[in-house]
Amino acid sequence: MKNWPLFEIFIRSKSGLNHKHVGSLHAADAQMAIENARDVYTRRQEGISIWVVESKYISASDPVDSDPFFEPALDKIYRHPTFYDLPDEVKHM
């Protein structure tokens, strides 16, 4: 199957939800990838919409650098609502 590129498959399970990565498959082209994804990943009504993209077009962050890469978010707890002490009288905010 050297000539059949690998596609990553994303499925929207119902309207209102995001497309979510479910796996991958080989296909000759995008149309075939969509049809095969239907047969492989939605045999039990798991989806109402399918996205496919050739795996080679996906760029990803490097897991080796993930600690320093995501570190800037670590010490900014003031971004969370629980950081702020308010009087109990303020019931919902």
Binding site: D29, R43, R44, V64
Partner: protein, 312 residues
């Protein structure tokens, strides 16, 4: 020094129940073990379609035929989920198929037994898929992310396979004497190979200890086998079939069934290629692959033609 550190971090991550993902660092042996296990698993799904495919055209009713077709289609899908998971480890599909077709890679030995009667479709679903589920449920928590996600999907679909098999056995056992005998005969032939599916005894299992440390496996072969037997014996009793093991006996102290000695010579003999159907299964698989070559080529040619704008 660095290597030791990497391995240490890797093991800590596993001990914390964090999943390993495709691009994460992993020991070469972990990668190799997974490729061997996942590909073996994928091959089993695909070869497992053959004994059942034999009965599609002879299913006793349209309903049973539609069900059997759906089950076999699921197995093709399961094979695909697993091949995809395996490919994330850096091996490609061609190589995997080549290993199967040349006999270098193994598949579950159970599929080297013939499916002789319609009752075998019942016994395979009930026992073979039942044993597979017992193996697969703990694999949903296996340490390698892509494998674990494939297993979750598979387990969701697999339970229909076992239930439809048991229902076939139930229906036959309520039928005529001939039908009931047919069900008993299928149980007689599939029982021992099914409990061999869990693999060699723990004391003889070469890969087990390391796989458990890496949390690829969560339970030992013998634990899972015992669990399967304890679950299945009452199911056989319920439909009036007899497990073909004279030594099978409830052990009140262990709260488990004691069972007879497994014929491991037979097991190893089938693994080594001398089962009743090894040659036929491999031949059929290779033939299907070769006969499909023109379809794969045509699909590529058509895709190229479309890209170059010569067709819509």
């Amino acid at each position: 020094m660095l290597r030791i550190d990497l391995e240490g971090h890797f093991q800590e991550k596993i001990d914390r129940e964090e999943r390993i993902e495709a691009k994460d660092w992993m020991p070469e042996a972990y990668r190799k073990t997974l490729i061997r296990q996942i590909s073996q698993h994928a091959h089993s799904e695909i070869v497992g379609m053959l004994p059942e495919g034999n009965w599609i055209s002879r299913a006793p009713s349209l309903k049973r035929k539609a069900i059997l077709l759906a089950k076999i289609q699921d197995e093709a899908g399961h094979g695909l989920y697993l091949y995809s998971a395996c490919e994330t480890l850096g091996i490609d599909r061609d190589e995997l198929l080549n290993e199967l077709h040349t006999g270098k890679a193994k598949y579950s030995s159970i599929f080297n037994y013939p499916a002789l009667t319609w009752a075998d479709m019942g016994a395979i679903g009930w026992l073979v898929d039942g044993a597979a589920i017992m193996n697969q449920i703990p694999l949903c928590r296996t340490s390698y992310g892509p494998y674990s996600r494939a297993m979750i999907r598979i387990c969701k679909e697999e339970s229909f396979h076992q239930r439809q098999g048991y229902e076939i056995m139930l229906t036959l056992s309520r039928g005529s004497t001939v039908q009931k005998n047919m069900a008993q005969d299928a149980l007689n032939r599939w029982w021992w190979p099914s409990i061999m599916m869990f693999g060699p005894n723990d004391s003889d299992s070469t890969h087990s200890a390391q796989s458990i440390k890496w949390k690829i496996k969560r339970f030992s072969n013998d634990e899972l086998r015992q669990r399967f037997i304890d679950m299945t014996v009452p199911q056989a009793e319920l439909i009036g079939l007899k497990i073909p093991d004279p030594d099978l006996k409830w052990n009140e102290e262990r709260k488990s069934y004691d069972f007879g000695k497994i014929n491991w010579d037979e097991f190893w003999n089938v693994v080594k290629g001398n089962g009743p159907c090894n040659k036929q299964r491999l031949r059929d698989r290779v033939k299907a692959h070769e006969d499909g070559a023109w379809v794969r080529d045509a699909a590529v040619a058509y895709a190229e033609k479309k890209r170059s704008g010569r067709v819509n």
